[in-house]
């Protein structure tokens, strides 16, 4: 490695989501307050800031008040203030609205927004403060020295699909940083490496996730008012096995954000969240909203929902982890953006102080967790620490357990804190699953008219996803033999169903032999395969910078 490939900075942030951008903004502000000037670099893998950002999104605004000055806060590009908020329980044909709104889902003081638009705005504020943002660069490795994180290494480019160097090969850049803040979002591929290397999750619950599939629609004028919020649960999910539901958020200019979110702890190996959303849209209540409407955008993303008990240790020498990478989502309220902002600010405060003291050791950075413990993150997550686990055994039973928790300040009176099981372990083998399989349950509804409902490949088209073909495929089957034996033979290749972008195809040849084909070019970077594949079947790694979806208003 020659020296021209090395750059250095005081503070390095990986990922331009709400957590990373908040960390950058708050660090720059705090340096300035102390009359200090330090270099802050932020690296983002999306082609532009916002290109890989997807969220509902209902956003609690108060964290932004702490981050920004009044003028900047007032200019935040929120879409609409929430005006009405309804929750529906759907059955196959009908629906009834809950007589009262569950208190933990209260959306008062809440804004509907495109988180992508919000991040693009925050990026301009960060750059105004002197933060250097580099989008379109993939970081796939951590730079260690003497066992400590000293920075990151961007991905080499110009190799063919077998990894052979081509004539336009460019070695990655080594970025040396005093402190690195990892803000990669849900299931960060670097955070995953850090967790393993530094045992950051020892003694914590395994993290568990949901997959959210989202569509942005343009509807005939007057169909849905901007600010209207609707959540549904029930159909088409099995209430005792599948935790999740749909959302409909009315946006300005007769646009509607639709989403369907399901916990990845489901057990049916043929369950398919993208298909479930298409089935959901065929429910009369939802279909009525989309009459004469056109699809504008599609995307998918996972979110961590293990809650307080799944949060790993968030720091060690020279680094901290923030936002979704840290698992900071307040599950009952389905909200994580404000916690991402707060965690970014806590990390920024810690980093500035550590750099001032010239001490970036784990002992010094432990201040970060101390700040979190006194912040809204603790206040919001601790009382509901057992919420998600309660629903492991179904909605009604879970609701009952959770109701008890609300009364008891979050404790489970009978069993103590509840454990989680990694999502990769919850599936039942294809032959052993006794319930009616998803593919059979909805056989009649899995035909897509490309008006209301869409097949996965068409959906991917609406995510504007592209990948350079000249690179090592960024999705990797960890052990081909074991994958065939376990994932394919035993579980019936669940990735062909759970992947919302048809990356995985099971090919059957004339002799009836099956092979897995990977269409990495379809990948929308949701990382479900990395989470849900049985027996650690698949690893998601970051492709070339700028590859992946190009979300506009997700």
């Amino acid at each position: 490695m020659n020296n021209s490939n090395v750059v250095s900075t005081d503070l390095l942030i990986i990922g331009a989501g709400p957590a990373g951008l908040s960390a950058a903004i708050h660090a720059a502000d705090t340096f300035k307050e102390n009359g200090d000037s330090k270099k802050i670099i932020l690296i983002e893998k999306g082609k532009e800031v916002g290109a890989h950002i997807l969220s509902g999104a209902l956003i609690k605004t108060e964290a932004f008040k702490e981050l920004l000055d009044e003028e900047e806060f007032d200019a935040l590009p929120f879409d609409s203030q929430v005006t009405t908020d309804m929750t529906l329980k759907l059955s196959e044909e009908g629906s009834f609205s809950l007589p009262f709104h569950p208190p933990y889902m209260d959306n008062k003081e809440t804004q509907i927004a495109s988180l992508g638009a919000l991040c693009r705005y925050l990026a301009t504020l960060a750059e105004k403060r002197g933060v250097e943002i580099y989008s379109g660069f993939a970081v796939d490795d951590i730079w260690y020295e003497a066992g400590q994180v000293v920075g990151v290494i961007t991905k080499d480019t110009g190799v063919d699909h077998r990894g052979k160097r081509l004539k336009n090969f460019q070695e990655g850049t080594k970025v040396r940083a005093e402190i690195t803040i990892f803000a990669e979002g849900s299931r960060g591929s670097l955070a995953k490496k850090l967790l393993r290397r530094f045992n950051l999750d020892s003694g914590r619950n395994p993290q568990i996730y949901s997959l959210g599939v989202k569509e942005l629609w343009s509807v005939p004028a007057g169909t849905v008012q901007a600010g209207e919020v609707l959540h549904t649960f029930g159909y088409p999910l099995k209430s005792d096995e599948e935790f999740g539901g749909g959302f409909v958020y009315g946006l300005q200019d007769d646009k509607v954000a639709l989403g369907f979110v399901v916990g990845l702890d489901y057990v049916d190996p043929t369950f398919d969240i993208h298909a479930a959303m298409q089935v959901w849209k065929q429910h009369p209540k939802i279909a009525a909203l989309l009459q004469g409407a056109t699809l504008i955008e599609f995307g998918a993303k996972t979110l961590p929902e293990g809650g307080y008990l799944s949060i790993p240790k968030l720091y060690d020498d020279n680094f901290m982890i923030v936002g979704d990478s840290a698992g900071l989502v307040a599950m009952p309220a389905l909200k994580g953006v404000h916690l991402a902002v707060t965690s970014g600010m806590c990390a920024a405060k810690t980093a500035v102080l550590a750099l001032f003291k010239n001490n970036t050791t784990a002992a010094e950075l432990s201040h970060y967790e101390a700040l979190i413990a006194t912040s809204r993150i603790y206040k919001e997550l601790y009382p509901v620490r057992n919420f998600r686990q309660s629903f492991r055994n179904g909605l009604w039973q879970g609701g009952l357990k959770f109701g008890v928790q609300l009364l008891s300040g979050g404790a489970c009176p009978f069993s103590g804190d509840l454990k989680t099981q990694p999502d990769s372990q919850t599936l039942e083998p294809l032959d052993e699953y006794r319930g009616r399989k998803f593919q059979q349950r909805f056989r009649e509804k899995l035909h897509y008219d490309k008006k209301l409902t869409f097949d996965k490949v068409t959906s991917v088209f609406y995510s504007k996803t592209t990948h350079d073909e000249e690179q090592i495929p960024h999705l990797h089957v960890n052990n081909t033999e074991r994958f065939k034996r376990i994932n394919m033979a035993r579980y019936g290749t669940p990735c062909q169903y759970f992947c919302p972008a048809e990356v995985y195809e099971v090919h059957v040849d004339k002799e009836g032999d099956t092979t897995l084909r990977i269409h990495a070019e379809n990948c929308v970077h949701c990382k479900t395969c990395d989470i849900k594949s049985p027996a650690d079947g698949i690893t998601w790694s970051v492709p070339y910078g700028g590859d992946g979806p190009e979300y506009d208003y997700m």
């Binding site: 021209s4 490939n5 090395v6 750059v7 690296i43 250097e132 580099y134 660069f137 961007t154 480019t157 110009g158 081509l166 004539k167 336009n168 090969f169 460019q170 070695e171 990655g172 850049t173 970025v175 490949v457 088209f461 000249e470 090919h507 059957v508 040849d509 004339k510 070339y544 910078g545 700028g546």
Partner: protein, 645 residues
């Protein structure tokens, strides 16, 4: 002697986002922009050259609005040392002629000229996606008086010369050029590198020097609309003539192939012909008619010779030439210039195909085409004969020769035309009507628009797209004039040496005559060396169908097929009864070579492949699974509706 590598670069709108402004000029304000693809290959070629000459300086130049700085920054991030932008509202509306002049003036201002002591090389993109003319590199070279080579794929340098691989029809040539020289790069060489983070951080602090027209001292009358010998008179949308594809349905190979057979038997989709709305007929104003030709008369064409034969596109060219001559009346003559070594025998052939006169130039040194001596000979003939129109086939040679000649005779060029007609131009501003005038029509903006270009300087020069016009009927025994012409060439004209010319086996004439062509792409080569493709051809031949196999450029590049079998812009243009494309994605260069086929059947694993937008029948799937099934059906008598010969 430090080498300077100069890259000429243009920023273009993303092809999918192109739109036209109200004034008929390109509206560049709304679309997302990228570095023109060909230019990005030129940038990489410059960087590759630098790897051989570590002390070389890399500079990148562009002409356009300030928004072009984004792309110049990217070039700096890729490794360029300096960036210059010529930016001035007065440049708006410049055609390629005025652009070539402005860019060469910029380079002169930066201290680069024919007489520079230090060697330099100019690398540019072959053509831009929003213009597709491929003129500017030739025009810059001629304005600077330096040698050129276009359609270059790779190059290297010994410090004094450039050795470059030039793509020609059915093969390639290795050329050696002295420096300084100008090269234009095809998008088939080494793909552009991605900027590194380190490079991007460095570029953040590098400056871009911006000049206006006064800074570089160019006469305002020579640029912009006033300096442009050609204008875009009209732009219309091209309606795709091909109706939407019929896709095969089914879950396995057998079902898919059965569905394909069913679909083909049923016939293609047809688009309902839209009833043409009655056009508002604006009354032709009563302006005086102006004959701007200043006595220029007659049509001059070039007969390109390869391997001792007149190339097919040069014969095709005689069709529009004769039609234009007829439209002009007044016994307008078609004169053809034939240059080569011992080519007298070909003159009578040209006359039989429609030339009235053939000017023959024989010279041992001219057995292979070379742009410099050919341009010199042409400009001498033009000066002497004063033709009103000069036509070239839009071959790799014609597309560089025409603009170089254009600069010599101070005229513009219209590239790659698909229609040539005689019409008139109503100049409402100056209240006059130019008549007669050559209306050159060409597809542009990614083949989505049809532009009509007019030139007001004689000769009005156009190049005609190969494969667009039919070869005229040969009239045995037709009489005409053969004029022998001696040339005196300067040493300078012969400074470029052809080191090697490689063409595929005999040109594979059968590709033009085959009823069915089966073309395989690179994936098919990679997986079985096109074995299944050839098996399908064999099976069809066994049924008595005249069938040939062909290939896409990437497959040829990878060595799975010879150049003579390449279909596409730099290969052959074919129009068989049935064109079956296998594992070919449908790059625009490939489509150019086959989209006129009567029926197109496409097999690709990627449902999003562009080829499906241009085909009549399609099957999505791995060809390894589908072809054996299809071959089986052919053996049982299915021949895509084509009869045995």
């Amino acid at each position: 002697m430090a080498l300077t590598i100069i890259s000429l670069m243009k920023q273009v709108p993303l092809p999918s986002e192109m739109r036209m402004g109200e004034d008929g000029l390109m509206d560049r304000t709304k679309a997302k922009s990228i570095i023109n693809i060909d230019c990005s290959f030129a940038l990489e070629a410059g960087l590759q050259l630098k790897q051989q000459h570590l002390d070389a300086k890399l500079i990148v130049c562009s002409m356009g609005p300030p928004s072009f700085e984004v792309s110049l920054k990217k070039a700096l991030a890729m490794g360029y040392d300096e960036a210059y932008l010529l930016s001035d509202r007065k440049l708006g509306g410049s055609d390629t002629y005025a652009t070539g002049l402005a860019l060469s003036t910029l380079l002169h201002h930066l201290g680069f000229s024919k007489t520079s002591k230090e060697p330099f090389v100019i690398v540019a993109g072959r053509q831009t996606s929003d213009g597709d003319t491929a003129h500017v590199p030739s025009q810059v070279a001629e304005n600077m008086g330096i040698p050129q080579a276009t359609f270059i794929e790779t190059l290297e340098s010994d410090g004094e010369h450039i050795v470059a691989k030039r793509i020609i029809e059915g093969g390639y040539q290795t050329l050696r050029l002295p420096m300084p020289c100008a090269l234009s790069l095809t998008p088939t060489g080494i793909p552009p590198r991605r900027p590194t983070l380190q490079g991007t951080m460095r570029a953040r602090h590098q400056n871009i020097t911006v000049f206006n027209v006064d800074d570089i001292g160019i006469d305002q009358r020579k640029i912009g609309l006033s300096g442009s010998p050609t204008i875009v008179a009209k732009v219309t949308n091209i309606q795709s003539e091909r109706a939407p594809i019929k896709m095969s349905q089914g879950t396995d190979a057998n079902a898919l192939v059965q569905s394909l057979i069913h679909n083909i038997q049923e016939g293609k989709n047809v688009t309902a012909k839209e009833t043409t709305k009655k056009k508002k007929t604006t009354k032709r104003p009563d302006f005086p008619e102006v004959d701007f030709r200043k006595g220029a008369r007659g049509i001059l064409t070039w007969a390109e010779v390869a391997e001792g034969e007149i190339v097919r596109p040069s014969l095709e060219l005689l069709t529009p030439a004769r039609e234009l001559a007829a439209a002009l009346g007044e016994e307008t003559k078609v004169t053809t210039l034939l240059i080569g070594d011992d080519v007298d025998a070909l003159a009578s052939t040209l006359i039989e195909y429609g030339s009235d006169e053939v000017i023959v130039v024989n010279d041992k040194r001219l057995s292979e085409y070379l742009v410099l001596p050919f341009a010199t000979i042409f400009s001498d003939v033009i000066a002497e004969r004063k033709p009103e129109i000069a036509l070239f086939a839009a071959t790799t040679a014609g597309r560089e020769l025409a603009p170089r000649i254009g600069v010599k005779v101070h005229g513009g060029v219209t590239a790659d035309c698909t229609a040539l007609e005689i019409g008139e131009h109503v100049d409402r501003k100056n209240k006059q009507i130019f008549k007669p005038i050559l209306e050159s029509r060409r597809p542009t903006y990614g083949e989505s628009k049809l532009a009509t270009i007019l030139g007001f300087v004689c000769p009005q020069i156009s190049t005609a797209r190969a494969g667009t016009f039919a070869v005229p009927k040969r009239e045995k025994g037709r009489q005409g004039i053969v004029t022998k012409r001696k040339v005196r060439l300067k040493k300078e004209d012969m400074c470029v040496k052809i080191l090697q010319t490689v063409r595929g086996e005999g040109g594979l004439q059968n590709l033009f005559e085959a009823d069915i062509i089966v073309a395989g792409g690179r994936p098919a080569g990679e997986s079985d060396g096109l074995k299944l493709v050839k098996e399908l051809v064999e099976a069809l031949r066994e049924q008595g169908v005249n069938t040939e196999w062909a290939s896409s450029r990437p497959a040829v590049d990878a060595g799975y097929a010879e150049y003579a079998r390449q279909i596409g812009q730099t290969g052959k243009t074919v129009r068989p009864k049935v064109y079956i494309s296998i594992a070919i994605s449908g790059a625009i260069q490939h489509l150019a070579g086959m989209k006129e086929s009567e029926m197109i059947v496409s097999i690709n694993h990627n449902a999003k492949a562009a080829i499906f937008s241009h085909a009549d029948f399609g099957m999505v799937g791995a060809y390894e699974d589908l072809l054996p099934e299809l071959i089986e059906q052919v053996r049982r008598g299915f021949t895509f509706g084509v009869n045995a010969t």
